[in-house]
C-alpha cells in the first residue's frame, strides 16, 4: 500500500519532536562505518563476479573532429584482447544531474581532448590497458575548437537575468560603491573512489554494479542509451566512495560496460583511471564575476549587480548557477544580474559540490568585505544590516532564515573582534596574522521520493529505497528516523539502499537527499503507525511507541501477530515551493597567516555556524560541515584545474598535482549548529546541509588574507604567486 503526500502548506506540527524514542538528532556513528574501514563494504569494482573480463576506455588525442577509422586488428592479436568496441550507443560524457535521458552518444564525434571513443576488452586489466594505449586511430581534425571562454561570444541564460530599478544610477549616486571582478578556476570533484562498473547480462536482463549517486535517474539514462525498457535494467550502488556531483549522471564506464558485456558474452568490468576520472567526467566551470555593490552612508545596499561568465561544451544544458543565492541573500532595490555561458571545447562542465554558490559566494562575499572596508563598517554588522525581510526579487517570504543568528552566534564562538579593522595589525615572526568572515547561503532543494518501510513480525524494521549513501550518513539517519517513528533503536532498523529493485528515492545530489528521502520514510512510518493505532484503537497522533512497545504496554511483536506490516511512502514537493524562498544560511570565520617572504597562506582556525532546519544526526551533520569547510580551504588556496591553451586538455589530472587540502592544511575547525525547524522545507522540517558548509567559506579566508597582509586578491585560488603579486611592500 502506498501513501502519497504532496506538501502544499507549511507543517509546523513538528510531529517528530513529539516521538518518544529519542534517537533522532543524536550523534550516532555511521552504521556502515565499520564495514567500510575494515574493507568488507564492497565498492562497485569489488563485487566478486566470476569470469569477468576487463575493459579500458580509449580516449581521444584531438580536441574536435571525427574518428575516421580505428585499426582494431592491430590490437585484437595482442595477448588476451577479446574485443574493441566503438558502438555508436557508447556515451562520450557523463549525463548531467537529473537528466533522465542518455547523454551525448556517438563516440566517433570528438568534442574535447580526452573524450572516450572506444573500449578495449581483455582478459586482464593490464592487457586491456596496453592494447588501449596501442590502438591506432585515424582522425579528421576540425581545427576550429574555441578553448578560451573570454574569446567567444557568450550566450545569455535569460531565465537568470534580473533587471530591477537602475543600478548604474545607484552606483553613480551611492555613498559607497564597489565595482570589482573576481575569477575562479575550474574544480574537480576528486572523489576517492574512481568511476567503475561491472555489467552482467542474464538473457535480456541487465545488472550493473556502478558508482553512482542517483539511481532513480541513472536507470532511465542507461536504459535510454541502450534502447531498453527500464524494467530490464537493475543498477546497484550500495556503497559509493564519494561523488560530489561527479556521479550524478550515468558515466561513460557504465554504458560501455553494458555494451561490452553483451558483445563478449561475459561480465565486463570498466574502471576509469584516475587521469580519466579527471579528464572525462565533469569539471566545475571556471568563472569570471563582475560585482557591483552600491550602499548608502549607513552601509545599506541600494544597488546590487552580479554578472557571471561560465563555460560549457556546445549543446550542454548545464551552466554553473553562480547567481543562485545572489538573487536573495541581500537587499538592494536596484538590481542587475546576468549569467552567460561561453561554448568551448573543454571537457563537460557539470555539478561539483554546491554548484553555483561554491564559486558565486566567494566572489560576492569578497566584494562585501571590500564594501565593509570602504564604508567603515564591521563586516558582520554590514551583513546584519542587509538581510532582507523577504526575497528582494520575488517578493516571497523566506521559509526560515537563520543568517542573523548564525552571524551572531558564530562571531561570539569565534571571538570576532568588531573593532576597527586595518591590515597588518599582527605579525608573528615571518607571518602576518589576520581574520576574515563571510556569510553562507545555499538554496534548499527537494525532490520526489519513495520508500518502503516494513515492520517485521519479530519487531524489527526494514527501510528500502534505491536512494544512495555516498558517504554522507544516509544509512544512519534513516535508521534513526524510522526508529524514532516506530519506537525502535536504530540498530533494530535495517536500511537497504542503492538498488533499483527498491522503490525510487531522490538520489544524492544538491543536498536534497536527507530531506527528500527522510520525508518518504516519515510518510511510510506514519502509515505504519496509523495501522498500529487502529489495532490498538487509538489515533496515530496519540500513539506512543518506545522500545518496541506502545504506551499501553502492548509490544509491537504481539500487535503484528506473526505478520509483517509494510507501507510505502511517496513524498512529492507541492506548490509550497512557489510560496517561499527556502535556503540554508550560515556564517564563516577564519584566522589565517600569510608568510611575508613567500606569500604562503595557512589557515590557523576556522568556524562555521549553520542553520539548515532539523538536525537529523549531530555527528553526521557536523561531519558534512567539516567537509564543506575543508572544501572551502581548497577553493580559497589551492584547487585549480589547468587547461592547455592549445588543445584544451586538462594537464593536472591526478591527486598529486590537483591540490585538495591535506590534513596539515585543515586546522582547528569548529562547527556551531543553529537548530531550527523549517515548516515549509519538508515534512520533517529539514533542509540540505551537504553543500552549505562550503558556500562562502573561501571568502572568509580571502578576507582574512587581506586583513593579515594587505593583499586584496580577486582571483581564486590564492596561491603564493598571486599573494606575492598583490602584497604591498
Amino acid at each position: 500500500m502506498t501513501v502519497h503526500f504532496k506538501q502544499d502548506t507549511p507543517d509546523d506540527s513538528n510531529r517528530l519532536d513529539g516521538m518518544k524514542q529519542g534517537v533522532l538528532g543524536k550523534s550516532i556513528r555511521r552504521v556502515e562505518g565499520m564495514a567500510k574501514v575494515t574493507g568488507t563494504a564492497p565498492y562497485s569494482a569489488e563485487y566478486p563476479i566470476a569470469d569477468c573480463a576487463e575493459g579500458v576506455l580509449v580516449t581521444s588525442t584531438i580536441t574536435r573532429g571525427k574518428v575516421v577509422s580505428i585499426d582494431k586488428d592491430a590490437v585484437l592479436s595482442m595477448p588476451g584482447v577479446l574485443a574493441v568496441i566503438d558502438d555508436p550507443a557508447m556515451t562520450t560524457r557523463a549525463a548531467q544531474g537529473t537528466a533522465d535521458e542518455a547523454p551525448q552518444q556517438e563516440p566517433g564525434t570528438v568534442c574535447y581532448w580526452g573524450q572516450p571513443i572506444a573500449l578495449v576488452v581483455a582478459e586482464t586489466f593490464e592487457q586491456a590497458r596496453d592494447a588501449a594505449k596501442h590502438l591506432p586511430i585515424n582522425y579528421r581534425e576540425d581545427p576550429s575548437a574555441p578553448l578560451d571562454p573570454q574569446a567567444v561570444e557568450a550566450e545569455e541564460q535569460e531565465d537568470e537575468t534580473v533587471r530591477q530599478g537602475d543600478l548604474d544610477h545607484a552606483m553613480a549616486t551611492a555613498a559607497h560603491s564597489v565595482d570589482v571582478t573576481y575569477t575562479t578556476k575550474g574544480h574537480a570533484s576528486a572523489a576517492m573512489e574512481p568511476h567503475a562498473s561491472i555489467a552482467q547480462w542474464d538473457g535480456d536482463k541487465l545488472t550493473v554494479y556502478a558508482s553512482l549517486q542517483m539511481l532513480n535517474y541513472n536507470i532511465s539514462e542507461l536504459a535510454d542509451a541502450l534502447g531498453m525498457e527500464e524494467e530490464n535494467v537493475r543498477l546497484v550502488s550500495r556503497f559509493v566512495g564519494g561523488g560530489f556531483g561527479s556521479k550524478l549522471g550515468v558515466s561513460e564506464d557504465v554504458v560501455a560496460a553494458a555494451i561490452a558485456s553483451k558483445e563478449v558474452g561475459r561480465p565486463v568490468r570498466v574502471v576509469m583511471s584516475r587521469q580519466q576520472v579527471f579528464q572525462c567526467v565533469m569539471r566545475r566551470s571556471e568563472t569570471t564575476q563582475h560585482l557591483r555593490l552600491a550602499a548608502d552612508e549607513n552601509g545599506k545596499l541600494i544597488g546590487f549587480g552580479h554578472h557571471a561568465l561560465v563555460s560549457n561544451l556546445p549543446g550542454e544544458t548545464f551552466a554553473e548557477p553562480v547567481l543562485q543565492s545572489s538573487h536573495f541573500l541581500y537587499g538592494g532595490e536596484n538590481r542587475d544580474l546576468m549569467l552567460e555561458v561561453a561554448r568551448i571545447h573543454r571537457m563537460t562542465a557539470g555539478s561539483v559540490r554546491a554548484p553555483g554558490e561554491a564559486v558565486g559566494m566567494p566572489a560576492l562575499e569578497g566584494a562585501m568585505d571590500v564594501l565593509a572596508e570602504k564604508a567603515g563598517i564591521d563586516p558582520v554588522e554590514l551583513r546584519l544590516k542587509n538581510i532582507p525581510e523577504e526575497d528582494p526579487e520575488e517578493g516571497l517570504p523566506f521559509s526560515s532564515h537563520k543568517l542573523a543568528e548564525c552571524l551572531r552566534q558564530g562571531a561570539d564562538a569565534f571571538g570576532w573582534d568588531s573593532g576597527p579593522r586595518s591590515p597588518r595589525h599582527t605579525c608573528e615572526g615571518e607571518w602576518w596574522v589576520g581574520t576574515g568572515m563571510a556569510s553562507a547561503a545555499r538554496v534548499h532543494n527537494i525532490a520526489e521520493a519513495k520508500s518502503r518501510v516494513t515492520l517485521k513480525a519479530d519487531g524489527s524494521a526494514v527501510v528500502e529505497t534505491d536512494m544512495t549513501d555516498i558517504g554522507t550518513g544516509t544509512y544512519t539517519i534513516l535508521a534513526q528516523l524510522a526508529g524514532e517513528m516506530l519506537g525502535l533503536e536504530p540498530a533494530q532498523v535495517l536500511v537497504e539502499l542503492g538498488d533499483t529493485k527498491n522503490p525510487r528515492g531522490p538520489g544524492s545530489g544538491g543536498s536534497w537527499g536527507a530531506a527528500s528521502i527522510g520525508s518518504a520514510v516519515y510518510i511510510a512510518c506514519k502509515a505504519v503507525r496509523e495501522e498500529l493505532g487502529q489495532r490498538l484503537g487509538v489515533g496515530e497522533t496519540e500513539l506512543e511507541l518506545k522500545d518496541g512497545k506502545a504506551a499501553s504496554g502492548e509490544s509491537l511483536v504481539s500487535l503484528l501477530d506473526g505478520n509483517d506490516l509494510s507501507r510505502e511512502g511517496h513524498y512529492e514537493p507541492g506548490d509550497i515551493k512557489d510560496d517561499f524562498t527556502a535556503s540554508g544560511f550560515g556564517a564563516f570565520f577564519a584566522q589565517v597567516r600569510v608568510n611575508r617572504f613567500t606569500g604562503e597562506t595557512r589557515v590557523d582556525r576556522m568556524l562555521g555556524a549553520f542553520g539548515f532546519g532539523r538536525v537529523l544526526n549531530h555527528k553526521t551533520a557536523r561531519s558534512q560541515c567539516l567537509g564543506g569547510i575543508t572544501w572551502s580551504i581548497g577553493v580559497a588556496l589551492t584547487e585549480a584545474l589547468e587547461f592547455d591553451p592549445r588543445d584544451g586538455h586538462l594537464v593536472n589530472c591526478d591527486l598529486a598535482e590537483y591540490h585538495v587540502p591535506v590534513h596539515r592544511d585543515v586546522p582547528d575547525l569548529e562547527v556551531v549548529l543553529v537548530e531550527e525547524r523549517d515548516p515549509a522545507a519538508s515534512p520533517i522540517q529539514a533542509k540540505g546541509i551537504g553543500e552549505l558548509g562550503m558556500c562562502g567559506g573561501a571568502a572568509a579566508i580571502a578576507n582574512a588574507i587581506y586583513n593579515a597582509c594587505g593583499a586584496r586578491i580577486f582571483d581564486y585560488p590564492m596561491t603564493p604567486d598571486r599573494v606575492l603579486a598583490a602584497m604591498p611592500d
Binding site: D130, K133, D644, H659, V662, P720
Partner: protein
C-alpha cells in the same frame, strides 16, 4: 602497462648485468617507476629488482662522515640519529617531501633518479623531447607553472623535482657508483644531475649498467642548517622553490654559506659565487639582495612560472635572515 620480465638481483654483479641494456631498468622502492610504467612513460622490457642487494645500511665513514646506502629508505635516513644531529638539513629536506607512506618505500638511489613532474612528460599523448626526442616541448608554450627558470634550454624547461638531493648538494655529498665490470666511481651530488641542453632525456650522469650504491657525506660541519620549501599546500606537494642552507656566522660575519636551490632548474642549483659573495660579510638586506642578484642573473621565466624569480629572491632572504637570527 606493457608486459615486462622481472628479475630479482642477488648481487651487485647480477644487477649490473641485468641493467646493462637500454630496455632494462632497476627498480628499488618503485614509487616513481611504477607510476610511470602504468602511464607507459617508462616501458622497460626488464625490471631488475635491486631491493634485496645488501646496500641498505647507514654507516659511519673513516673520516667521520656518513655513508647512506642506496637502498636505505627515506624514512630510515630521516630518522637516523646521526643524520638528525649532524646533517639536520638532510632530515628536514627528506621530511618535506612526499608523504610518510611514500618515504617508507622510497630509497636513496630512487630519490636521486626520480623523474620530472612535468605534465607533458607524464602524458604520452603530448609532445615531449625528454620522453620522445624530437617531438617538441609541450611545456614551453603550455602550462609551465612548475617549470625551471635557470639552466633551461629550448629543448626542455623541466625541473628536477626532488628535495633530498638539494640538501645533499649543500652538504657536498658524493654519489658512489658501481659499474658493471665491478669498477666504482664517485661523483659529487652537485655534478650528478645534468642540464637539459640538447639531450633532455639524459637526467644524470649514470651510464648503462651503472648503479648508485651509496651517498657519502663528509664529516659534519657546524653552523645552522635550514631547509626551506615553498609550496601551495603544506604537505604532499613539490617545491615551487626550495633552499638548503648550511651557514655559519662568526663575529657577526659569514664564515660558511653553502647553499643549494630546488624547484628552479633541471638539477639542484648551486652557484659558488653566491657563497663567495657572502663570506666574510656582515649579514644585511643589501647583502642578501646581492646574493639573490647573483643567483638570478640569468633567470628567465616562461610566463606562468615568472613568479619563481621574485619568489626565489624572497625565499633566499628568509633563509639568510633565519640563519642570521639563529646565530645571534
Amino acid at each position: 602497462m606493457r608486459p615486462f620480465s622481472y628479475s630479482r638481483a642477488r648481487t651487485l654483479g647480477d644487477a649490473a648485468q641485468l641493467t646493462h641494456d637500454d630496455t632494462a631498468l632497476a627498480i628499488a622502492g618503485g614509487t616513481n617507476l611504477l607510476d610511470l610504467m602504468k602511464l607507459q612513460v617508462e616501458t622497460p622490457e626488464t625490471l631488475a629488482d635491486i631491493s634485496r642487494i645488501g646496500f641498505g645500511g647507514i654507516e659511519d665513514t673513516d673520516d667521520g662522515g656518513l655513508s647512506i646506502g642506496a637502498l636505505a629508505s627515506n624514512t630510515e635516513t630521516a630518522v637516523h640519529p646521526r643524520v638528525r644531529s649532524d646533517y639536520p638539513v638532510l632530515a628536514r629536506a627528506i621530511l618535506a617531501g612526499a608523504t610518510q607512506q611514500l618515504r617508507n618505500k622510497a630509497t636513496t638511489g630512487g630519490n636521486l633518479c626520480q623523474r620530472t613532474r612535468c605534465f607533458y612528460f607524464t602524458n604520452i599523448d603530448q609532445p615531449c623531447n625528454k620522453r620522445e626526442p624530437g617531438s617538441g616541448c609541450g611545456a614551453i608554450d603550455g602550462i609551465a607553472k612548475l617549470h625551471a627558470v635557470l639552466g633551461t634550454s629550448d629543448q626542455c624547461i623541466a625541473t628536477y623535482p626532488g628535495d633530498m638531493a638539494v640538501a645533499l648538494s649543500a652538504l657536498d655529498a658524493q654519489v658512489e657508483i658501481a659499474k658493471s665490470g665491478g669498477d666504482t666511481r664517485t661523483v659529487p651530488v652537485r655534478d650528478f644531475h645534468c642540464l637539459p641542453g640538447d639531450t633532455p632525456w639524459r637526467e644524470n650522469v649514470l651510464e648503462e649498467g651503472e648503479l648508485i650504491t651509496a651517498v657519502t657525506l663528509p664529516a659534519p660541519v657546524g653552523g645552522t642548517q635550514i631547509y626551506r620549501k615553498v609550496r601551495e599546500r603544506s604537505s604532499y606537494a613539490f617545491a615551487l622553490v626550495s633552499v638548503a642552507a648550511v651557514v655559519e656566522i662568526e663575529d657577526g660575519k659569514f664564515t660558511r654559506a653553502d647553499l643549494a636551490f630546488g624547484g628552479l632548474a633541471h638539477k639542484p642549483w648551486q652557484d659558488p659565487r653566491i657563497g663567495e659573495a657572502l663570506m666574510g660579510k656582515v649579514p644585511s638586506d643589501d647583502l642578501f639582495d646581492k646574493a639573490a642578484d647573483i643567483l638570478l642573473e640569468d633567470a628567465r621565466g616562461f610566463g606562468e612560472n615568472d613568479f619563481k624569480i621574485p619568489l626565489a629572491r624572497r625565499t633566499l632572504h628568509a633563509v639568510l635572515q633565519n640563519a642570521t637570527e639563529a646565530a645571534a
